[in-house]
């Protein structure tokens, strides 16, 4: 949705080319005397040169950005080939010998990688089940607050954690769950329970990760739904009120159904990101004791590639990750198009 306007390409330079020269061979009935090849290439070059001469200032403005994308985002894509090489730092990308799919064979016979794939999907799945509905519920609840002052303050406060850095959030989690001085354990102690060192116990990792994510993002994520609620026609509520509907019934039969299109789009976006979990946050929270449930694909790559210099193995995992992510995004967009005649991008 954020990218919806990408489809808005209209008119413009590219279309001009299509009209004039390139589109011609694609006509259903080719002309009896097709224009000579040299003529069409020549004219393309000529118009291109004329355009560049006319719009040179635009190209000057564009150049730094194009160079940036080429150097920082497209050059690494070229580097992805080391997934198929026996990479050595001294030989470089070109000099390293090809090894076919050896790195992938090593990857998929690595039990830690398979565990990371499993953990990634599980964390994504549990987030979808437990975290996804929270902003929707929150938006519905905010909508039922009629005191504007309280509502504004409440909303602003719930947005705040979104802007706090992950390091601070992780610091808060570590602090609150500390086995000796953490407030959670102090409370447990008061209530007569044993103190628990939560961050070292694998079973607690996912709830801690997902729970603190809800705390951080649910408020901010509710904005999208609140914007959709603001667009609902008030006449619907008026006539429901006339028919004697209660507030709960109006929420259930008017507000919630009106949100379904937005919920579907957000759901599709989330499905498109199933393989991507917030690994920067995981790196802050996990430790060897919890790798069993906490280690995901990206953290596996980080340890293999950056901490242990297994560049080729890490890149193979990167390529796997990127391809799966691309497939997911494309299918999510296809779904969205089918469902709402509305492309996600």
């Amino acid at each position: 949705m954020a990218e919806a306007a990408l489809d808005r390409e209209s008119g413009g330079g590219a279309v001009r080319v299509m009209d004039g020269v390139i589109a011609t061979p694609e006509l259903a009935t080719p002309p009896a005397f097709p224009p000579a090849r040299t003529f069409s290439i020549g004219s393309v070059v000529r118009t291109l040169l004329a355009d560049v001469r006319r719009d040179w200032q635009l190209y000057v403005l564009l150049a730094p950005m194009i160079i940036w994308f080429a150097v920082f985002l497209y050059a690494p894509m070229y580097g992805l080939q080391i997934a198929f090489k026996q990479y050595s730092l001294f030989r470089g990308i070109e000099g390293s010998p090809w090894v076919g799919f050896d790195n992938f064979v090593a990857l998929f016979s690595n039990e830690y990688f398979l565990r990371a794939v499993k953990n990634t999907l599980l964390i994504s799945f549990y987030s979808l089940v437990f975290a996804f509905p929270v902003p929707i519920i929150l938006a519905l609840m905010f909508n039922e607050i009629h005191h504007q002052g309280f509502r504004r303050i409440a909303q602003t406060i719930t947005y705040l954690p979104h802007f706090i850095s992950l390091v601070i959030i992780a610091g808060l989690v570590v602090n609150f769950l500390s086995p000796t001085t953490g407030i959670v354990n102090i409370m447990l102690d008061w209530l007569g329970f044993e103190k628990i060192y939560f961050l070292t116990i694998p079973e607690y990792f996912r709830p801690i990760f997902i729970g603190s994510n809800i705390w951080k993002e649910a408020g901010f994520d509710s904005i999208v739904y609140l914007a959709a609620i603001a667009g609902i026609n008030p006449a619907l509520y008026e006539s429901a009120r006339m028919d004697g509907a209660s507030r709960l019934q109006m929420m259930r039969y008017i507000t919630l159904p009106s949100l379904v299109p937005v919920i579907m789009i957000m759901l599709i976006i989330r499905v498109g990101q199933l393989i991507e979990v917030n690994f920067e946050y995981i790196i802050l929270l996990y430790q060897p004791a919890t790798f069993e449930t906490a280690d995901v694909i990206s953290t596996f790559i980080y340890r293999a590639g950056i901490q242990n210099n297994q560049y080729a193995l890490g890149t193979a995992a990167d390529l796997f990750n990127a391809v799966v992510a691309l497939i997911l995004v494309v299918s999510a967009n296809w779904l969205s198009r089918r469902y709402s005649q509305n492309s996600v991008w």
Partner: protein, 304 residues
């Protein structure tokens, strides 16, 4: 009547329209939301209180909501730490020059991309958007930075994270939405593309540029991962890396904690003070950021 009840605030609502069930619903709803808001707020209040309490009060679990034995010892300790100031200064440096670089590259680029007569605009637009759906990943990105000689370089941090597709598209959409009459009028007056951007489009697109600027600023302020990976020298690391080392990694390192033992401050109060000091700037600019972020979301097209 009914219209007023639903569109105006509670003060003017006629009570007879609400049944008993409705009122109970309203109270329960408000109470639950209040609970959520308080649980959002509580960690901040606790950290602030802990930072102002004595080390003994915190380690012995006396602090739950309000400060106990109020002291500024933890702040004095933190503010006297040279490493903290170096990291803070580095963050200011990266935030300022990083945001500036981002805008200097993306604003002109997005403007050029928004012009219909630009040849190849469709292809370039696709190449930009494609990076949202496909990225090479950690290792190729890291090796690329290394090959560029930008490891452990301030320049690397400033440059390597200057652009992203989302912001470029946000800016481009905003520029595209400017009515063509502005451009035509400027053309008649003989304006060049440079003048068009500088004199007309940048002033018109101020809300979008502010939004993107703040997005960059906040992500610069909060980012830690790549700074941690790419920077080796102590004197170059930003605040978040310093924070990670002190408040996250130190949890199992008791030598640091015990070395700090004092009745006035403890490891806990010091980390709390560090957190307060580093959250503070975000809380101060938060009202502005929030306003523009909300705007940014609608600008970006998330609008139903």
């Amino acid at each position: 009547m009914a219209t007023r009840a639903l569109t105006s605030d509670s003060s003017s609502e006629p009570f007879n329209l609400y049944t008993r069930g409705d009122k109970i619903f309203g109270v329960v709803n408000t109470a639950l939301l209040l609970l959520f808001v308080l649980s959002t707020l509580y960690p901040f209040v606790y950290i602030l209180s802990a930072s102002l309490s004595s080390g003994f009060a915190v380690t012995s679990g006396q602090v739950t909501l309000w400060p106990v034995d109020i002291t500024f010892a933890a702040y004095e300790y933190v503010l006297a730490d040279q490493k903290f100031w170096i990291a803070y200064g580095n963050t200011l440096f990266y935030a300022f020059f990083g945001t500036l670089t981002s805008l200097l590259i993306m604003v002109p680029g997005a403007f050029a991309l928004s012009r219909a007569r630009l040849r190849g605009r469709r292809l370039i637009g696709f190449m930009v958007a494609f990076t949202m759906w496909f990225h090479a990943g950690l290792i190729p990105f890291f090796l690329n930075i290394r090959d560029l000689g930008l490891l452990d370089a301030r320049m690397g941090i400033v440059l390597a994270f200057a652009c992203n597709a989302f912001n470029v598209i946000l800016l481009r959409n905003y520029f595209e939405a400017v009515p063509t009459s502005f451009e035509e009028a400027a053309r008649i007056d003989g304006a060049s593309d440079f003048q068009l951007l500088w004199k007309i489009f940048i002033p018109l697109a101020k809300p979008a540029i502010m939004t993107v600027g703040l997005l960059c600023l906040v992500s610069r302020w909060n980012g830690y991962f790549w700074a941690m990976v790419l920077l080796r020298s102590e004197e170059k690391v930003p605040l978040q890396v310093y924070l990670k080392r002190t408040i996250v990694d130190m949890r199992s390192d008791d030598s640091f904690a015990s070395a700090l033992m004092s009745t006035e401050y403890s490891f806990e109060t010091i980390t709390a003070a560090i957190m307060v000091v580093s959250i503070l700037p975000i809380v101060v600019i938060f009202p502005y950021v929030q306003k523009y972020f909300n705007k940014g979301i609608t600008l970006g097209g998330i609008k139903e």
